[in-house]
Point group: C2
Chain length 311, copies 2
C-alpha cells in the first residue's frame, strides 16, 4: 500500500466545516468573523511518550487528546486538526486501529481532520496540530491570574503518573493511555476563569507557569488536591506526593478565578458532572509556589517534566 492509498483509506473523511480537506496542497477553512483562532501542536515519539507496543487505538486517541486539551486550556472550541506520521511500515491493522481512535475522539468533538503528511521512518513519530475558535478577546491565558484568586483543578491528579509505576491498576492505566480532554469545561470557563493551563507536565510545573506569567505567588494545600482513592490503599507517601504534585499526563484543567465566582463554578461542576476543587490561592509576592502539608509546613516537590533534563 502506498502513501496516497494510506491517506485515502484511513485518513480521508469528508470535513464538515472546511472548504477543502485532505487532498490538495493545503486545506482551506473559513473562520467565522468575530472569532480568534487558537493554534497548538504536540509531537509524540515512540520510546519517549509511549512504548513500541502501545495499543494503536489508544495512541490515535491520545495524539489528538493532548492537543484538544491545549485548546480547552485557552477556552477554545476545537475545529480542525492535521496529523503527520512517520511510520516504520504500512501496517494495515495498526493504521485501521490508530485512525479509529483518532476519529472517534475527533467526531465526538466536531473536529475535522483537514491535512497531514505520511512518511516512512525507522521509529513511530506522531505530530498533530489543532485549530480552535474562541470569541475575540475571551481566550484564557496563563498570565491572566489576579491576586486573591482561588486555584481550581478539575477531576483528579496523579493517576497517569501512577500508571507508570503500577500499570496493573486499570483506572490509572486508562488515564495514562486514554486521557479525556476537558473540552466543554474549557469553553464554559470563558469569562469565568482568569487564567488556565492544562496539567500535562504535573501540577507543580504547570502552576509555576501561571505563577510566573501572572507575577503572583501561589499557596496550595496538599491535602486538598483531589486524587484517586487507590492512593490511600497503596500507603506510599513519597510515590503519592510525586504523582499528585509532579506527575504529568493527567490533562485536567488548572485554573484561577475570583472568590466571587465560587457558587457559579460549583454549579458548573454539577452541570457538567466534573469535579472542580479549590486547592489554594494566589497572592501578591514573589512568583513562587508554596505547597503546605496537613501541618501547614512547606513541602518539597519536584518540578515539571523536562525532555532534556530528565525528571
Amino acid at each position: 500500500m502506498n502513501e496516497f492509498n494510506i491517506i485515502r483509506r484511513y485518513f480521508d473523511r469528508p470535513p464538515k466545516r472546511a472548504l477543502m480537506g485532505v487532498g490538495d496542497d493545503c486545506a482551506l477553512v473559513r473562520p467565522d468573523a468575530g472569532l480568534d483562532l487558537a493554534v497548538t501542536t504536540d509531537m509524540l515519539v515512540e520510546g519517549r511518550h509511549f512504548l513500541p507496543d502501545a495499543e494503536p487505538r489508544a495512541l490515535g486517541h491520545k495524539a489528538l487528546a493532548v492537543n484538544l486539551s491545549d485548546l480547552a486550556a485557552m477556552g477554545a472550541a476545537p475545529r480542525w486538526a492535521t496529523l503527520s506520521l512517520a511510520l516504520p511500515a504500512a501496517d494495515e491493522a495498526w493504521l485501521a486501529a490508530f485512525s479509529e481512535g483518532f476519529f472517534a475522539l475527533a467526531e465526538r468533538h466536531g473536529v475535522d481532520l483537514i491535512g497531514g503528511d505520511t512518511t516512512r521512518g525507522p521509529q513511530l513519530v506522531i505530530s498533530v496540530a489543532a485549530l480552535g475558535e474562541v470569541p475575540a478577546g475571551l481566550a484564557l491565558y496563563r498570565g491572566g491570574a489576579r491576586p486573591g484568586d482561588d486555584i481550581w483543578v478539575s477531576g483528579e491528579l496523579g493517576a497517569a503518573a501512577l500508571a507508570l509505576v503500577h500499570p496493573e491498576i486499570r483506572e490509572a492505566a486508562l488515564r495514562l493511555h486514554r486521557p479525556e480532554p476537558r473540552v466543554e469545561l474549557g469553553e464554559r470557563l470563558r469569562g469565568l476563569a482568569h487564567a488556565a493551563i492544562d496539567v500535562s507536565d504535573g501540577l507543580a510545573g504547570d502552576l509555576r507557569h501561571i505563577v510566573e506569567r501572572s507575577e503572583l505567588g501561589a499557596l496550595v494545600h496538599y491535602a486538598d488536591i483531589p486524587r484517586p482513592a487507590v492512593f490511600a490503599k497503596l500507603r506510599d507517601e513519597k510515590l503519592e506526593r510525586d504523582c499528585v504534585l509532579s506527575g504529568g499526563d493527567d490533562y485536567e484543567l488548572l485554573f484561577t478565578a475570583a472568590r466571587e465566582r465560587r457558587v457559579e463554578l460549583e454549579a458548573l461542576s454539577r452541570e457538567l458532572d466534573i469535579a472542580l476543587t479549590r486547592i489554594g490561592t494566589l497572592q501578591k509576592g514573589a512568583s513562587e509556589l508554596v505547597v503546605l502539608d496537613a501541618q501547614k509546613k512547606p513541602m518539597t516537590y519536584r518540578g515539571g517534566f523536562d525532555h532534556f533534563g530528565g525528571r
Copy 2:
C-alpha cells in the same frame, strides 16, 4: 539546557501579527475578515528526507520552505507557522544554525513562528505546520483546470534530483538543500491561473494530481520543459529524463491557465524575474498524462515519489 530554555533561546521571537505567540497553551491569531485560511503541514525525517550530517541552517530553511511552497500553490500569503522537533540532543551550535535558517526565511516572508514542541528522540524529526491567508473564494485548487488550458511551470525542473546523483554540482545541490518557495508568484497567480500545485514529487506525479482532480487529459512536450543547462553537458539521457519528469524537491509551481492569459503571464514573468514556461495543454478525455518526445512519440516515465513504495 532544558526544553524551556531551548525554546526561549532559539525559537521565541515576538510575533508581528499574533495576539499570543510561543509560551502559552496555544498561540492566538485573529484572521482578517473576508480571508480564507490555508493550512498545510510537512514532516522531514532524518535518513529519509535528509542525511544525518545535513547542514542545520539549510535544514531550518528547507523545513519551512516546503510548507511555504504548499501555501504558494494555493495562492495563499504565508502568515504563521509552528515547528515541532524531535532531537537526539540539545546541541547548541546545531540549534543556533537551524533556527537562523528557519527565521531568515520566515522573516523574509513575514511569517511568525507562533508555537511548537521540543522533545527528545533518537533520530531527528522536524514537523512544521503553516497557515496562510487568501481572499475568500480565490484559492487555487488542483481540480480547477479547464479544457484548452496551457500547462505552465516556473523556473527549471530536475536540479534537486540531479543533486542526489551528482552532489558535486553546486547549482543542483543548492536547489536540493535550499529550495526557494515561489511565494510571490503564488499570490500573483490568483485570478490568473485555474489550477496549481507545487512540484515536490516530480512533474509526472504532480501533474497527474491536476489531471485526476480536474478530470482532464494532459499533453506535455518533453523538449519544452525548462531544465538546468548542466544536463546538456552530462549527456545522460536517462538520468536527464528521470530528473526532469520524475525528480522531486524542486518546489516550482506547476499551473494551468487559459490561452487568453499568455500575455499577462509573460508580463508577470518579466516583472517577478521568474521564468514561466508553457510545456503543454489540457484537453477533454481520459485523466492521463502523455509526454511526447522531439519526434512526437509518447515517452515512458516513472510516477511520483512514494514513501512506502520506493520510486
